[in-house]
């Protein structure tokens, strides 16, 4: 499982099924790693993606300092590790595997969005 190191973090955030994690348009400077459970990303009520344990979301607002482009909701009860900008830079500097993992996730999403839009 990718990003498994976060499973050991003591201070995980817990969300109940249906609870919002962040909302479209909010400022955001935090990325999340799903440690347990599932998170749904949606835009204008349309589901975009389901993030499973080991997956990340919220990286866009953290990387380019701009508002959330989707709403994230706990699809099941879930536990998340939050990564702020300072921690993110630290992780990229010290664990290149983390940077590659984030890029792989973004590549997969970008590939999917681009192909859906132009197909």
């Amino acid at each position: 499982m990718p990003l498994q190191r976060f499973q050991e973090e003591a201070d995980l955030l817990s969300f109940k099924a249906g609870q919002p994690i962040f909302i479209l348009g909010q400022p955001g400077d935090t990325m999340y790693v799903v440690v347990e459970g599932e998170v749904e990303l949606s835009l204008n009520g349309k589901p975009i993606d389901t993030i499973l344990a080991g997956g990340i979301f919220g990286e866009l607002a953290l990387i380019d300092d701009s508002p959330r482009i989707a709403t994230a909701t706990a699809k099941t009860a879930c536990k998340l590790a939050a990564v702020n900008q300072q921690q993110f830079i630290f992780l990229v500097r010290n664990t290149p595997h983390f940077a590659i993992q984030v890029m792989k996730t973004m590549a997969e999403r970008l590939r999917r969005e681009t192909m859906l839009r132009y197909k």
Copy 2:
């Protein structure tokens, strides 16, 4: 200008205006940095993006080992630095700024594609 270190590379690739750099569906394991000139990305004949000097393209196929999802054509005469997977991993490990720069580019594209698709 981002990624300016590539301006000093001796072995740049030169393309004439209109010359293809890669084609949709081709296998690809190389990312490019535009050092001089402009590159157009298109899909099924529709322009997606123009990459200016300092910008990167082709990072998706390199990151997730899959076929090109767009066609890249020299929009003007241009000079490119090619980055293969081995060089990419090296750059991520040794220059975290490079990793952040690639992520910012991907974030910008992902934000644009997602917003266009769901607006």
